[in-house]
């Protein structure tokens, strides 16, 4: 094989493209000018490129979330929902029954027994009925979602029931801050904490708790 290639190389003729007709200085100058123009433009662009790359660097960090429905993000969401059901967020304990907002009322309706008073509020133009169950020391309101009724809010009415974290109506603002920390949202005389889509809201009158309410994100 080697013999073949060596012989081949030195025998090759050099073909040269002959240059075309004389007298193109004028065209030469035009091309010259065009090259210069492009050169200037390119320098300007490269400066711009540097600027942009810097922006791209920081741009990368500042791009806000593109609202993109992505199967992956759905996975995380559904996993997160499952967690909600089990233990995350603020859940109200009565005996061993767990009542969480956005939960289907029919699951716990029998267990909670006969409510002291029951009121139905059919919304105007038949857009679903809200139901209010009032028990001895707490009240549960539901909101319609398709055929099901989901728990909209749980209101604690007296101090022989408490939140899972041990706060009840007899306590004061300091107790809340001690247990739930400082990052609550204060609005008017309400102090609201949120965890995994569940809101826990304390209504105060001069540091005295007037009402404790678990509220779903829907309200």
């Amino acid at each position: 094989m080697e013999k073949l290639s060596a012989k081949w190389i030195n025998k090759r003729k050099v073909l040269l493209p002959e240059n075309n007709q004389p007298g193109k200085e004028q065209k030469e100058r035009k091309v010259e000018w065009k090259m210069k123009k492009n050169k200037i433009r390119r320098i300007v662009w490269s400066l711009y490129l540097l600027g942009v790359l810097v922006v791209a660097g920081c741009g990368g960090s500042s791009t806000e979330e593109v609202s993109e429905k992505d199967y992956e993000s759905d996975d995380q969401k559904t996993k997160q929902d499952q967690e909600n059901q089990s233990q995350a967020g603020y859940v109200f304990q009565i005996g061993e029954i767990e009542v969480a907002v956005d939960m289907d009322i029919s699951l716990i309706e029998e267990k909670l027994g006969e409510p002291d008073s029951y009121f139905e509020q059919p919304s105007c133009a038949a857009q679903g009925t809200a139901r209010i169950f009032t028990y001895s020391s707490f009240e549960i309101d539901t909101y319609p979602d398709g055929e099901k009724d989901l728990v909209g809010s749980i209101i604690l009415k007296d101090d022989n029931v408490a939140t899972a974290e041990g706060i009840d109506l007899s306590m004061t603002k300091e107790d809340i801050l001690a247990v739930y920390g400082e990052n609550g949202k204060e609005e008017g005389n309400s102090l609201e904490y949120e965890k995994d889509g569940m809101k826990l809201c304390f209504i105060l009158e001069e540091d005295k708790i007037v009402s404790i309410e678990y509220r779903s994100k829907v309200f």
Partner: protein, 531 residues
């Protein structure tokens, strides 16, 4: 901005009116502005990515062009006297210079794409590795929002860069023109990945107002909307439920999921591409076909020549051939031919480059193990079918079935089945889960469930919806069969005016009435936007 939003329709109408309203020399600058407005609408932050890609590639390509111009000028001028060795050394030096410029261009483009798209994936796997090694420290990563369509325009720019490096065509001097090539809005979000020499002639040429081309283009856009809104988006909910709720929907439901996903994917991709090509055609610009009746292909190899053609040809031209011809690969080939014998020598480079190409295709689709495994299994199927060639050949010698309709039908069915199984990686997005679900088709035999009343309705589709999907499938099938005899719209255009008008009017109202858009339907999303 999504193709199926009211905003986009208004934007398109305005662009078309301006396009044919303004004097023809303003046409392509108008498109450039429109493309940046279109892309900016989905997030101002994204603009800096496309700007970075455009400028890096455009400038470096011009530089490469300067170097090769200088080289040919030198060869014509002083080079004549120089000896062969000197000329060869000079050419090598110049090639080395261009190679460095190309590397810089690739570094910027592919680097940016990798940073934006794969940091999350890389870091999370590193964390897994670190945890496996026992150290508690976990790397936190910066979850950068993935700008839409970045994979498409970056690859398009890279293809342009490589072509200029190879000297296939001259680099575009005017950076604005190049910016338009990269950011041409119909193909910005989901391709096709066009080649500069194919797109630029019609992209930059002035176009006269011709009702024929405009109506043909808009008809194709309407057909794209029909597939997208009436068929694809109607199935998103059902497919989503089937792929998410894997406890209840296994066994026969996996097969149902496969079928629905195949229909949804086809309608979504080809619908989107129809809209893209339709809009371009309405502006007199020709964009390459990206899907040619893929579900009629009789072998997986043929399928990948008909499905997402621009991506397939991009990977072949810019990864498969360069890799299989580069030095290390050739050394591998000669090495294996010497030591492992003739047959291994033939196969080694092809296997290696095929493996590389499909791994790249997989990863390009998304940062996830399931995409990688999807790519590699495709590669495995292709190589195995290539190996079995001799087996097929003597099978055909014994049974003369090759040309018969039955055999072709079997080929189509076999290909569809194989690809539906491969697509499940895309659906379940988790490799072990996918294998478990595929297994469950055989293990948990619950076909009875499929026919128990009401069970199929739990997927969120009423009988009426299933009827519409069936009609959609039949229409798409009919059009594909008709298309084999030449362009369908062309043949319709021969019909008398009122017949055509009635046809397009009924399609228009089918989209308006049966389209799944507006309140109550989630914002319909092009699946390809996530890639």
């Amino acid at each position: 901005m999504l193709f199926t939003s009211y905003g986009f329709l208004l934007f398109l109408a305005v662009v078309l009116i301006l396009y044919y309203g303004l004097p023809r020399r303003f046409q392509w600058p108008l498109l450039l502005i429109a493309s940046y407005v279109f892309y900016g609408a989905s997030g101002i932050g994204n603009l800096c990515y496309i700007l970075a890609t455009t400028l890096a590639t455009g400038l470096l390509a011009c530089k490469m062009q300067d170097v090769s111009d200088a080289q040919s000028k030198w060869l014509k001028g002083k080079g004549k006297e120089a000896s062969r060795e000197e000329r060869k050394a000079y050419k090598q030096r110049m090639k080395k210079k261009r190679w460095r410029l190309l590397l810089l261009c690739l570094a910027v483009d592919v680097g940016m794409l990798a940073v934006v798209k794969y940091t999350g994936f890389a870091v999370s796997n590193l964390n897994v590795l670190i945890k496996a090694l026992g150290s508690g420290r976990q790397l936190t990563f910066f979850d950068i929002a993935l700008p839409m369509g970045i994979s498409f325009y970056v690859f398009q720019a890279v293809g342009y860069g490589i072509d200029v490096y190879r000297g296939k065509y001259r680099a575009e001097e005017n950076l604005f023109r190049f910016a338009l090539f990269v950011s041409f809005f119909p193909q910005l979000i989901q391709g096709p990945i066009s080649r500069f020499d194919q797109l630029s002639p019609s992209l930059f040429a002035p176009h006269k107002f011709q009702t024929r081309t405009i109506s043909l283009g808009l008809q194709r856009v309407l057909w794209g909307f029909f597939k997208k809104l009436v068929v694809a988006d109607r199935l998103i909910g059902a497919v989503g439920m089937l792929t998410k709720d894997t406890q209840t929907y296994e066994g026969c439901w996996v097969v149902v999921g496969m079928f629905l996903y195949a229909v949804e994917l086809y309608a979504d991709f080809t619908g989107g591409i129809d809209i893209t090509i339709g809009i371009a055609q309405a502006m007199g610009i020709t964009v390459q076909e990206n899907f040619i009746r893929p579900y009629f292909s009789k072998s997986v190899k043929e399928y990948w020549n008909r499905w997402h053609i621009s991506m397939g040809s991009w990977f072949t031209d810019y990864i498969f051939y360069p890799v299989s011809v580069c030095k290390p690969m050739l050394d591998l080939s000669s090495f294996s031919r010497k030591h492992l014998g003739e047959q291994a020598g033939r196969r080694a480079p092809v296997y290696a480059s095929c493996f590389l190409v499909w791994a790249a295709t997989g990863i390009w689709h998304g940062a996830g193990w399931n995409f990688l495994v999807w790519g590699l299994s495709n590669c495995a199927v292709l190589l195995v079918s290539q190996e079995l060639e001799p087996l097929y050949r003597n099978f055909h010698e014994r049974f003369q079935v090759a040309g018969t309709f039955g055999w072709r039908l079997f080929g189509v069915a076999r290909t569809c089945f194989i690809l539906c199984c491969l697509r499940t990686f895309d659906c379940y997005r988790d490799v072990p889960l996918t294998f478990r679900m595929l297994g469950s088709v055989l293990t948990s035999w619950n076909w009875g469930e499929l026919f128990s009343p009401g069970r199929i309705l739990e997927l969120g589709l009423s009988w009426a919806d299933y009827g519409v999907v069936l009609l959609g499938i039949l229409l798409m099938l009919g059009v594909s069969l008709w298309q084999r005899k030449g362009s369908v719209r062309g043949q319709i255009a021969q019909k008398p005016y009122w017949v055509r008008f009635a046809l397009w009017l009924s399609l228009f109202f089918m989209v308006i009435v049966w389209g799944s858009y507006g309140i109550g339907y989630e914002a319909s999303q092009f699946i390809y936007n996530q890639f």
